[in-house]
Protein backbone atom coordinates (compact mmCIF):
# COMPACT_ATOMS: atom_id res chain seq x y z
CA UNK A 1 0.00 0.00 0.00
CA UNK A 2 1.28 3.40 -0.99
CA UNK A 3 1.57 6.00 1.83
CA UNK A 4 3.83 8.81 0.61
CA UNK A 5 6.01 10.65 3.11
CA UNK A 6 5.52 14.38 3.33
CA UNK A 7 1.74 14.23 3.34
CA UNK A 8 -0.41 14.33 6.46
CA UNK A 9 -3.27 11.92 7.05
CA UNK A 10 -6.54 11.55 8.95
CA UNK A 11 -7.98 8.52 10.71
CA UNK A 12 -10.75 8.67 8.11
CA UNK A 13 -8.27 8.02 5.27
CA UNK A 14 -7.91 11.50 3.81
CA UNK A 15 -4.52 13.00 3.00
CA UNK A 16 -3.45 16.65 2.80
CA UNK A 17 -0.43 18.07 1.03
CA UNK A 18 0.42 21.48 2.48
CA UNK A 19 2.17 24.09 0.37
CA UNK A 20 2.42 27.55 1.95
CA UNK A 21 -1.01 28.54 3.25
CA UNK A 22 -2.87 26.05 1.09
CA UNK A 23 -3.50 22.35 1.25
CA UNK A 24 -4.63 19.87 -1.35
CA UNK A 25 -6.84 17.05 -0.08
CA UNK A 26 -7.74 13.58 -1.35
CA UNK A 27 -8.28 10.03 -0.13
CA UNK A 28 -5.55 7.50 0.47
CA UNK A 29 -4.56 4.51 -1.60
CA UNK A 30 -5.93 2.32 1.20
CA UNK A 31 -9.30 4.10 0.99
CA UNK A 32 -9.62 3.85 -2.78
CA UNK A 33 -8.71 0.18 -2.63
CA UNK A 34 -11.35 -0.48 0.02
CA UNK A 35 -14.02 1.40 -1.95
CA UNK A 36 -13.31 -0.23 -5.29
CA UNK A 37 -14.23 1.45 -8.57
CA UNK A 38 -15.10 5.09 -7.85
CA UNK A 39 -17.99 6.26 -10.04
CA UNK A 40 -18.91 9.64 -8.58
CA UNK A 41 -17.42 12.27 -6.31
CA UNK A 42 -19.60 14.99 -4.85
CA UNK A 43 -17.51 18.05 -4.02
CA UNK A 44 -18.28 21.27 -2.12
CA UNK A 45 -18.94 24.76 -3.49
CA UNK A 46 -16.01 27.11 -3.76
CA UNK A 47 -15.75 29.41 -0.78
CA UNK A 48 -17.30 26.96 1.64
CA UNK A 49 -15.79 27.23 5.10
CA UNK A 50 -14.87 23.92 6.63
CA UNK A 51 -14.14 22.93 10.18
CA UNK A 52 -11.89 19.95 10.78
CA UNK A 53 -13.93 16.71 10.53
CA UNK A 54 -16.76 18.42 8.63
CA UNK A 55 -18.18 16.31 5.84
CA UNK A 56 -17.10 18.15 2.68
CA UNK A 57 -18.24 15.65 0.09
CA UNK A 58 -19.09 12.08 -0.75
CA UNK A 59 -17.22 9.49 -2.76
CA UNK A 60 -19.33 6.76 -4.33
CA UNK A 61 -18.05 3.49 -5.69
CA UNK A 62 -20.09 0.86 -7.50
CA UNK A 63 -20.98 -0.86 -4.25
CA UNK A 64 -20.69 1.71 -1.50
CA UNK A 65 -20.42 5.33 -0.56
CA UNK A 66 -18.32 7.13 1.93
CA UNK A 67 -18.33 10.62 3.43
CA UNK A 68 -15.26 12.79 2.98
CA UNK A 69 -14.02 14.54 6.13
CA UNK A 70 -12.02 17.72 6.10
CA UNK A 71 -8.57 17.20 7.63
CA UNK A 72 -8.32 20.89 8.59
CA UNK A 73 -10.18 24.13 9.26
CA UNK A 74 -10.18 26.22 6.10
CA UNK A 75 -11.95 27.59 3.06
CA UNK A 76 -12.42 25.71 -0.19
CA UNK A 77 -10.49 27.50 -2.96
CA UNK A 78 -10.63 24.84 -5.70
CA UNK A 79 -12.12 21.44 -6.52
CA UNK A 80 -10.73 18.97 -9.02
CA UNK A 81 -12.68 19.56 -12.26
CA UNK A 82 -11.37 16.33 -13.83
CA UNK A 83 -13.32 14.13 -11.41
CA UNK A 84 -16.69 15.04 -12.96
CA UNK A 85 -15.90 13.02 -16.08
CA UNK A 86 -13.14 10.82 -14.72
CA UNK A 87 -13.92 9.71 -11.18
CA UNK A 88 -11.68 6.69 -11.82
CA UNK A 89 -8.69 9.01 -11.31
CA UNK A 90 -9.29 8.53 -7.59
CA UNK A 91 -8.44 4.84 -8.06
CA UNK A 92 -5.68 5.33 -10.57
CA UNK A 93 -3.77 8.16 -8.92
CA UNK A 94 -5.16 8.89 -5.45
CA UNK A 95 -2.31 11.22 -4.42
CA UNK A 96 -2.00 13.00 -7.77
CA UNK A 97 -4.62 13.43 -10.49
CA UNK A 98 -7.26 12.07 -8.13
CA UNK A 99 -7.07 14.99 -5.67
CA UNK A 100 -10.41 16.40 -4.52
CA UNK A 101 -10.27 19.87 -2.98
CA UNK A 102 -7.83 22.65 -2.24
CA UNK A 103 -8.29 24.68 0.93
CA UNK A 104 -6.86 27.89 2.32
CA UNK A 105 -5.79 26.76 5.78
CA UNK A 106 -7.44 28.30 8.85
CA UNK A 107 -5.79 29.24 12.13
CA UNK A 108 -5.41 25.76 13.50
CA UNK A 109 -3.16 24.69 10.65
CA UNK A 110 -2.52 20.98 10.51
CA UNK A 111 -2.77 20.08 14.18
CA UNK A 112 -4.06 16.63 15.06
CA UNK A 113 -3.08 14.96 11.79
CA UNK A 114 -1.09 11.76 11.37
CA UNK A 115 2.30 11.40 9.73
CA UNK A 116 2.78 8.80 7.00
CA UNK A 117 4.31 6.43 9.53
CA UNK A 118 1.48 6.87 12.02
CA UNK A 119 -1.15 6.39 9.33
CA UNK A 120 0.55 3.29 8.03
CA UNK A 121 0.66 1.86 11.53
CA UNK A 122 -3.05 2.55 11.97
CA UNK A 123 -4.10 0.82 8.75
CA UNK A 124 -1.75 -2.10 9.39
CA UNK A 125 -3.47 -2.54 12.75
CA UNK A 126 -6.75 -2.95 10.91
CA UNK A 127 -7.96 0.62 11.29
CA UNK A 128 -11.42 1.32 10.00
Amino acid sequence: MNVPDGLLYTEDHEWIRVEGTKGRVGITDFAQDQLGDVVFVELPELGRRLTRKDVFGVVESVKSMSDLYSPVDGTVTATNPALADHPELVNQDPYGEGWMVEVELGENGTSGLLTAGEYQKMTAAGGH
Partner: protein
Protein backbone atom coordinates in the same frame (compact mmCIF):
# COMPACT_ATOMS: atom_id res chain seq x y z
CA UNK B 1 -20.77 -12.07 12.93
CA UNK B 2 -22.72 -15.29 12.59
CA UNK B 3 -21.01 -18.22 10.94
CA UNK B 4 -20.98 -17.75 7.21
CA UNK B 5 -21.23 -20.67 4.84
CA UNK B 6 -18.54 -21.25 2.26
CA UNK B 7 -18.81 -22.77 -1.20
CA UNK B 8 -16.39 -25.45 -2.45
CA UNK B 9 -14.63 -22.65 -4.36
CA UNK B 10 -13.77 -20.62 -1.25
CA UNK B 11 -10.05 -21.51 -1.30
CA UNK B 12 -9.90 -20.61 -4.99
CA UNK B 13 -11.47 -17.20 -4.32
CA UNK B 14 -8.98 -16.44 -1.58
CA UNK B 15 -6.03 -17.66 -3.66
CA UNK B 16 -7.15 -15.45 -6.54
CA UNK B 17 -7.42 -12.38 -4.32
CA UNK B 18 -11.22 -12.27 -4.23
CA UNK B 19 -12.56 -9.72 -1.77
CA UNK B 20 -14.81 -11.82 0.43
CA UNK B 21 -18.03 -10.35 1.80
CA UNK B 22 -21.10 -11.75 3.53
CA UNK B 23 -24.02 -12.31 1.16
CA UNK B 24 -27.22 -14.10 2.12
CA UNK B 25 -25.45 -16.08 4.84
CA UNK B 26 -22.49 -16.97 2.58
CA UNK B 27 -18.98 -15.69 2.33
CA UNK B 28 -18.62 -14.78 -1.34
CA UNK B 29 -16.23 -12.74 -3.52
CA UNK B 30 -17.68 -9.34 -4.39
CA UNK B 31 -14.83 -8.76 -6.83
CA UNK B 32 -11.38 -10.04 -7.74
CA UNK B 33 -9.89 -6.93 -9.32
CA UNK B 34 -12.56 -4.42 -10.28
CA UNK B 35 -16.33 -4.69 -10.60
CA UNK B 36 -16.25 -2.50 -13.71
CA UNK B 37 -13.55 -4.59 -15.41
CA UNK B 38 -15.38 -7.81 -14.59
CA UNK B 39 -18.64 -6.31 -15.84
CA UNK B 40 -16.99 -5.30 -19.11
CA UNK B 41 -15.44 -8.74 -19.52
CA UNK B 42 -18.89 -10.35 -19.47
CA UNK B 43 -20.43 -7.83 -21.88
CA UNK B 44 -17.55 -8.01 -24.36
CA UNK B 45 -15.96 -11.43 -23.83
CA UNK B 46 -16.96 -13.77 -21.01
CA UNK B 47 -16.70 -14.17 -17.26
CA UNK B 48 -16.99 -17.04 -14.83
CA UNK B 49 -18.86 -16.82 -11.52
CA UNK B 50 -19.15 -19.09 -8.51
CA UNK B 51 -22.86 -19.38 -7.82
CA UNK B 52 -22.64 -22.49 -5.67
CA UNK B 53 -24.47 -20.62 -2.92
CA UNK B 54 -27.71 -21.05 -4.88
CA UNK B 55 -30.05 -23.78 -3.61
CA UNK B 56 -31.15 -26.82 -5.62
CA UNK B 57 -34.18 -28.91 -4.67
CA UNK B 58 -35.18 -32.07 -6.49
CA UNK B 59 -38.92 -32.64 -6.79
CA UNK B 60 -39.92 -36.12 -7.93
CA UNK B 61 -43.00 -38.30 -8.08
CA UNK B 62 -46.10 -38.99 -10.12
CA UNK B 63 -47.74 -35.78 -8.91
CA UNK B 64 -44.63 -33.58 -9.06
CA UNK B 65 -45.72 -31.62 -12.13
CA UNK B 66 -49.21 -30.99 -10.79
CA UNK B 67 -47.74 -29.91 -7.47
CA UNK B 68 -45.38 -27.45 -9.14
CA UNK B 69 -48.26 -25.95 -11.13
CA UNK B 70 -49.89 -25.21 -7.79
CA UNK B 71 -46.67 -24.02 -6.11
CA UNK B 72 -45.51 -21.38 -8.61
CA UNK B 73 -47.17 -18.84 -10.90
CA UNK B 74 -45.65 -20.05 -14.18
CA UNK B 75 -46.67 -23.39 -15.75
CA UNK B 76 -44.07 -26.14 -15.10
CA UNK B 77 -46.27 -28.95 -16.47
CA UNK B 78 -45.88 -27.41 -19.95
CA UNK B 79 -42.13 -28.09 -19.85
CA UNK B 80 -40.70 -30.91 -21.92
CA UNK B 81 -37.67 -32.92 -20.86
CA UNK B 82 -34.57 -30.76 -20.92
CA UNK B 83 -36.50 -27.50 -20.67
CA UNK B 84 -36.24 -24.76 -18.07
CA UNK B 85 -38.53 -21.94 -17.00
CA UNK B 86 -38.30 -18.88 -14.78
CA UNK B 87 -41.05 -18.29 -12.26
CA UNK B 88 -42.04 -16.35 -9.18
CA UNK B 89 -43.26 -18.44 -6.23
CA UNK B 90 -45.99 -16.61 -4.36
CA UNK B 91 -47.69 -16.57 -0.98
CA UNK B 92 -51.49 -16.59 -0.72
CA UNK B 93 -51.15 -12.78 -0.43
CA UNK B 94 -49.53 -12.67 -3.88
CA UNK B 95 -46.19 -11.52 -2.45
CA UNK B 96 -43.12 -13.46 -3.55
CA UNK B 97 -41.56 -16.21 -1.46
CA UNK B 98 -38.78 -16.22 -4.06
CA UNK B 99 -38.11 -16.34 -7.76
CA UNK B 100 -36.51 -19.44 -9.22
CA UNK B 101 -35.81 -21.69 -12.18
CA UNK B 102 -37.69 -24.94 -12.73
CA UNK B 103 -35.81 -27.64 -14.65
CA UNK B 104 -37.53 -30.71 -16.05
CA UNK B 105 -35.30 -33.76 -16.46
CA UNK B 106 -38.08 -36.30 -16.84
CA UNK B 107 -41.85 -36.59 -16.55
CA UNK B 108 -41.53 -37.05 -12.81
CA UNK B 109 -38.15 -35.38 -12.17
CA UNK B 110 -37.74 -31.65 -11.64
CA UNK B 111 -35.25 -29.30 -10.05
CA UNK B 112 -35.93 -25.96 -8.45
CA UNK B 113 -32.95 -23.60 -8.35
CA UNK B 114 -33.54 -20.92 -5.73
CA UNK B 115 -31.78 -17.90 -4.26
CA UNK B 116 -29.14 -18.50 -1.59
CA UNK B 117 -30.48 -16.09 1.00
CA UNK B 118 -33.97 -17.56 0.80
CA UNK B 119 -33.07 -21.25 0.33
CA UNK B 120 -33.85 -22.39 3.91
CA UNK B 121 -37.15 -20.50 3.91
CA UNK B 122 -37.98 -21.82 0.45
CA UNK B 123 -37.32 -25.42 1.46
CA UNK B 124 -39.61 -25.13 4.48
CA UNK B 125 -42.28 -23.50 2.31
CA UNK B 126 -42.08 -26.10 -0.46
CA UNK B 127 -42.12 -28.94 2.08
CA UNK B 128 -45.17 -27.54 3.81
CA UNK B 129 -47.03 -26.99 0.54
CA UNK B 130 -46.17 -30.52 -0.63
CA UNK B 131 -47.65 -31.97 2.55
CA UNK B 132 -50.79 -29.90 2.09
CA UNK B 133 -50.98 -30.98 -1.57
CA UNK B 134 -50.68 -34.68 -0.76
CA UNK B 135 -50.12 -37.24 -3.51
CA UNK B 136 -46.82 -38.64 -4.70
CA UNK B 137 -44.34 -35.77 -4.33
CA UNK B 138 -40.85 -36.15 -2.87
CA UNK B 139 -38.56 -33.23 -2.08
CA UNK B 140 -34.82 -33.55 -1.59
CA UNK B 141 -32.49 -30.66 -0.86
CA UNK B 142 -29.48 -31.25 -3.12
CA UNK B 143 -27.80 -27.93 -2.35
CA UNK B 144 -24.79 -29.18 -0.39
CA UNK B 145 -24.07 -31.78 -3.07
CA UNK B 146 -24.06 -29.37 -6.01
CA UNK B 147 -21.45 -26.84 -7.09
CA UNK B 148 -22.70 -24.25 -9.54
CA UNK B 149 -20.69 -22.12 -11.94
CA UNK B 150 -22.09 -19.49 -14.28
CA UNK B 151 -20.13 -18.83 -17.44
CA UNK B 152 -21.57 -15.81 -19.21
CA UNK B 153 -20.76 -13.64 -22.17
CA UNK B 154 -20.65 -13.62 -25.97
CA UNK B 155 -17.59 -15.93 -26.02
CA UNK B 156 -18.96 -18.41 -23.46
CA UNK B 157 -20.00 -21.06 -25.96
CA UNK B 158 -16.79 -20.85 -27.97
CA UNK B 159 -14.54 -21.06 -24.90
CA UNK B 160 -16.53 -23.79 -23.15
CA UNK B 161 -16.51 -25.71 -26.45
CA UNK B 162 -12.74 -26.16 -26.07
CA UNK B 163 -13.37 -28.31 -22.98
CA UNK B 164 -16.00 -30.66 -24.36
CA UNK B 165 -16.91 -32.68 -27.42
CA UNK B 166 -20.60 -32.09 -26.65
CA UNK B 167 -22.35 -29.83 -29.17
CA UNK B 168 -23.18 -26.87 -26.93
CA UNK B 169 -25.11 -25.21 -29.77
CA UNK B 170 -27.69 -27.96 -29.34
CA UNK B 171 -28.63 -26.48 -25.95
CA UNK B 172 -31.16 -23.78 -26.78
CA UNK B 173 -32.12 -20.76 -24.65
CA UNK B 174 -33.67 -22.10 -21.43
CA UNK B 175 -32.75 -25.68 -22.27
CA UNK B 176 -30.61 -28.08 -20.25
CA UNK B 177 -28.40 -31.10 -20.98
CA UNK B 178 -27.38 -33.73 -18.43
CA UNK B 179 -24.37 -35.98 -18.27
CA UNK B 180 -22.16 -33.66 -20.30
CA UNK B 181 -18.42 -34.24 -20.04
CA UNK B 182 -16.53 -30.98 -19.56
CA UNK B 183 -12.80 -31.32 -18.98
CA UNK B 184 -13.28 -34.78 -17.54
CA UNK B 185 -16.10 -33.78 -15.17
CA UNK B 186 -19.69 -34.93 -15.67
CA UNK B 187 -21.98 -31.92 -15.39
CA UNK B 188 -25.45 -30.59 -16.07
CA UNK B 189 -25.48 -27.50 -18.33
CA UNK B 190 -28.28 -25.07 -19.08
CA UNK B 191 -28.28 -22.05 -21.35
CA UNK B 192 -29.51 -19.70 -18.65
CA UNK B 193 -28.04 -16.85 -16.66
CA UNK B 194 -28.43 -13.64 -14.76
CA UNK B 195 -26.40 -11.18 -16.81
CA UNK B 196 -28.36 -10.37 -19.96
CA UNK B 197 -25.72 -12.17 -22.05
CA UNK B 198 -25.67 -15.55 -23.69
CA UNK B 199 -24.09 -18.14 -21.45
CA UNK B 200 -24.40 -21.21 -19.32
CA UNK B 201 -25.05 -22.34 -15.79
CA UNK B 202 -23.11 -25.47 -14.99
CA UNK B 203 -24.02 -27.82 -12.14
CA UNK B 204 -21.16 -30.02 -11.01
CA UNK B 205 -20.10 -32.22 -8.12
CA UNK B 206 -18.70 -29.96 -5.36
CA UNK B 207 -15.30 -31.66 -5.63
CA UNK B 208 -15.14 -30.85 -9.36
CA UNK B 209 -16.24 -27.22 -9.10
CA UNK B 210 -12.83 -25.62 -8.51
CA UNK B 211 -11.03 -27.52 -11.25
CA UNK B 212 -13.85 -26.69 -13.65
CA UNK B 213 -13.66 -22.99 -12.76
CA UNK B 214 -9.90 -23.01 -13.35
CA UNK B 215 -10.23 -25.03 -16.56
CA UNK B 216 -12.65 -22.46 -17.99
CA UNK B 217 -10.33 -19.59 -17.05
CA UNK B 218 -7.41 -21.38 -18.64
CA UNK B 219 -9.34 -22.16 -21.82
CA UNK B 220 -10.35 -18.50 -22.06
CA UNK B 221 -7.10 -16.87 -20.96
CA UNK B 222 -6.17 -15.73 -24.46
CA UNK B 223 -9.65 -14.25 -24.91
CA UNK B 224 -9.61 -12.13 -21.75
CA UNK B 225 -12.05 -14.30 -19.81
CA UNK B 226 -12.07 -13.17 -16.15
CA UNK B 227 -13.26 -14.56 -12.83
CA UNK B 228 -16.15 -12.34 -11.71
CA UNK B 229 -17.67 -11.61 -8.33
CA UNK B 230 -21.11 -10.77 -7.03
CA UNK B 231 -20.58 -7.05 -7.68
CA UNK B 232 -20.48 -7.58 -11.44
CA UNK B 233 -23.27 -10.13 -11.20
CA UNK B 234 -25.45 -7.43 -9.64
CA UNK B 235 -24.52 -4.66 -12.09
CA UNK B 236 -25.03 -7.01 -15.07
CA UNK B 237 -28.43 -8.22 -13.93
CA UNK B 238 -29.41 -4.63 -13.13
CA UNK B 239 -28.76 -3.40 -16.68
CA UNK B 240 -30.76 -6.34 -18.04
CA UNK B 241 -33.52 -5.47 -15.51
CA UNK B 242 -33.57 -8.98 -14.03
CA UNK B 243 -35.14 -8.77 -10.57
CA UNK B 244 -33.12 -9.28 -7.40
CA UNK B 245 -35.01 -10.88 -4.54
CA UNK B 246 -35.23 -8.46 -1.62
CA UNK B 247 -35.11 -5.45 -3.94
CA UNK B 248 -37.45 -5.69 -6.94
CA UNK B 249 -39.46 -8.55 -5.42
CA UNK B 250 -40.15 -9.66 -1.86
CA UNK B 251 -42.94 -11.04 0.28
CA UNK B 252 -44.44 -7.54 0.13
CA UNK B 253 -44.13 -7.11 -3.63
CA UNK B 254 -46.20 -9.14 -6.10
CA UNK B 255 -45.04 -10.31 -9.55
CA UNK B 256 -47.60 -7.96 -11.13
CA UNK B 257 -46.12 -4.97 -9.33
CA UNK B 258 -42.62 -6.09 -10.32
CA UNK B 259 -43.52 -6.26 -14.02
CA UNK B 260 -43.40 -10.07 -14.06
CA UNK B 261 -47.01 -10.57 -15.17
CA UNK B 262 -45.96 -12.69 -18.16
CA UNK B 263 -44.76 -15.32 -15.70
CA UNK B 264 -48.21 -15.60 -14.09
CA UNK B 265 -50.39 -18.09 -15.96
CA UNK B 266 -54.07 -17.51 -15.32
CA UNK B 267 -55.34 -20.37 -17.48
CA UNK B 268 -53.68 -23.28 -15.70
CA UNK B 269 -56.06 -23.71 -12.77
CA UNK B 270 -55.49 -23.07 -9.09
CA UNK B 271 -52.15 -21.91 -7.72
CA UNK B 272 -51.05 -20.37 -4.46
CA UNK B 273 -51.71 -16.62 -4.58
CA UNK B 274 -54.04 -16.77 -7.59
CA UNK B 275 -57.04 -15.12 -5.90
CA UNK B 276 -55.00 -12.23 -4.55
CA UNK B 277 -53.17 -11.72 -7.84
CA UNK B 278 -56.35 -11.93 -9.89
CA UNK B 279 -57.99 -9.31 -7.71
CA UNK B 280 -54.91 -7.10 -8.02
CA UNK B 281 -54.94 -7.58 -11.78
CA UNK B 282 -58.60 -6.61 -12.03
CA UNK B 283 -58.21 -3.49 -9.91
CA UNK B 284 -54.81 -2.71 -11.35
CA UNK B 285 -51.85 -2.63 -8.96
CA UNK B 286 -51.40 0.69 -7.17
CA UNK B 287 -47.65 0.62 -7.77
CA UNK B 288 -45.42 -0.76 -10.47
CA UNK B 289 -41.77 -1.12 -11.26
CA UNK B 290 -40.41 1.56 -13.58
CA UNK B 291 -37.05 2.30 -15.12
CA UNK B 292 -35.67 5.77 -14.36
CA UNK B 293 -32.86 7.73 -15.87
CA UNK B 294 -31.41 10.57 -13.81
CA UNK B 295 -30.75 13.78 -15.73
CA UNK B 296 -27.64 14.63 -13.68
CA UNK B 297 -24.78 12.43 -12.59
CA UNK B 298 -25.55 10.91 -9.19
CA UNK B 299 -25.79 7.40 -7.79
CA UNK B 300 -29.35 6.30 -7.03
CA UNK B 301 -29.34 3.60 -4.38
CA UNK B 302 -32.04 1.33 -2.91
CA UNK B 303 -34.65 3.10 -0.75
CA UNK B 304 -33.96 6.61 -2.08
CA UNK B 305 -37.32 8.40 -2.38
CA UNK B 306 -38.80 9.00 -5.84
CA UNK B 307 -40.87 12.16 -6.37
CA UNK B 308 -43.29 13.43 -8.97
CA UNK B 309 -44.35 17.09 -8.88
CA UNK B 310 -42.91 17.32 -5.39
CA UNK B 311 -44.91 14.38 -4.04
CA UNK B 312 -43.32 11.14 -2.81
CA UNK B 313 -44.53 8.45 -5.24
CA UNK B 314 -42.24 5.53 -4.49
CA UNK B 315 -38.66 4.50 -3.95
CA UNK B 316 -35.63 3.12 -5.73
CA UNK B 317 -35.21 -0.67 -5.56
CA UNK B 318 -31.84 -0.83 -7.40
CA UNK B 319 -29.73 1.80 -9.07
CA UNK B 320 -26.27 2.71 -10.24
CA UNK B 321 -24.34 4.48 -12.92
CA UNK B 322 -24.71 1.85 -15.62
CA UNK B 323 -21.23 0.52 -16.43
CA UNK B 324 -22.23 -0.28 -20.03
CA UNK B 325 -24.33 2.79 -20.80
CA UNK B 326 -22.52 5.29 -18.58
CA UNK B 327 -25.77 6.85 -17.36
CA UNK B 328 -27.31 6.93 -13.87
CA UNK B 329 -30.24 4.50 -13.98
CA UNK B 330 -32.61 3.09 -11.41
CA UNK B 331 -35.39 0.61 -10.99
CA UNK B 332 -38.09 2.02 -8.75
CA UNK B 333 -41.46 0.95 -7.42
CA UNK B 334 -43.69 3.94 -8.11
CA UNK B 335 -47.35 4.91 -8.37
CA UNK B 336 -48.76 2.79 -11.19
CA UNK B 337 -50.09 5.75 -13.22
CA UNK B 338 -46.58 7.21 -13.54
CA UNK B 339 -44.78 4.47 -15.44
CA UNK B 340 -45.02 5.72 -19.05
CA UNK B 341 -41.66 6.55 -20.61
CA UNK B 342 -40.94 10.25 -20.45
CA UNK B 343 -42.85 10.89 -17.22
CA UNK B 344 -40.85 13.46 -15.23
CA UNK B 345 -39.65 12.30 -11.82
CA UNK B 346 -37.01 13.18 -9.28
CA UNK B 347 -34.86 11.03 -7.05
CA UNK B 348 -33.78 12.36 -3.67
CA UNK B 349 -30.07 11.67 -3.34
CA UNK B 350 -29.08 12.75 0.15
CA UNK B 351 -30.51 16.28 0.48
CA UNK B 352 -30.73 16.96 -3.27
CA UNK B 353 -33.58 16.25 -5.64
CA UNK B 354 -32.09 15.03 -8.89
CA UNK B 355 -34.41 15.38 -11.91
CA UNK B 356 -35.16 12.11 -13.67
CA UNK B 357 -37.57 10.60 -16.16
CA UNK B 358 -39.11 7.22 -16.81
CA UNK B 359 -37.37 5.11 -19.47
CA UNK B 360 -38.14 1.74 -21.03
CA UNK B 361 -36.89 -1.50 -19.53
CA UNK B 362 -34.64 -3.36 -19.96
CA UNK B 363 -31.89 -0.74 -19.98
CA UNK B 364 -29.63 -3.14 -21.83
CA UNK B 365 -30.51 -5.81 -24.36
CA UNK B 366 -27.82 -7.75 -26.15
CA UNK B 367 -27.67 -7.85 -29.92
CA UNK B 368 -28.16 -11.07 -31.87
CA UNK B 369 -30.29 -12.76 -29.24
CA UNK B 370 -30.46 -16.47 -29.89
Amino acid sequence: MTDLLRTPLYPLHVARGGRMVPFGGWEMPIQYTSILEEHRAVRERAGVFDVSHMGEFEITGKDAAAFLDRLVTNWPSTLGDGEVLYTPMTLPSGGCVDDLLVYRFGREIFWLVVNAATAPKDLAWVDRQAKAFGGDVKIVDLSSGVGEIAFQGPLAQEVLGRLTTFDLASIGHFEVARGVDVDGCTVTISRTGYTGEDGFEIYARPEDASSLFEAILKAGRGDGVLPCGLGARDSLRFEACLPLYGQEISEDITPLEAGLGIFVKWDKGAFIGKEALLSQKEKGPSRRLAGLELDERAVPRPHYPVLHEGQAVGSVTSGMISPTLGRPLALALVRADLTSPGTPMAVRVREKEIPAHVVKRPFYRRENRK
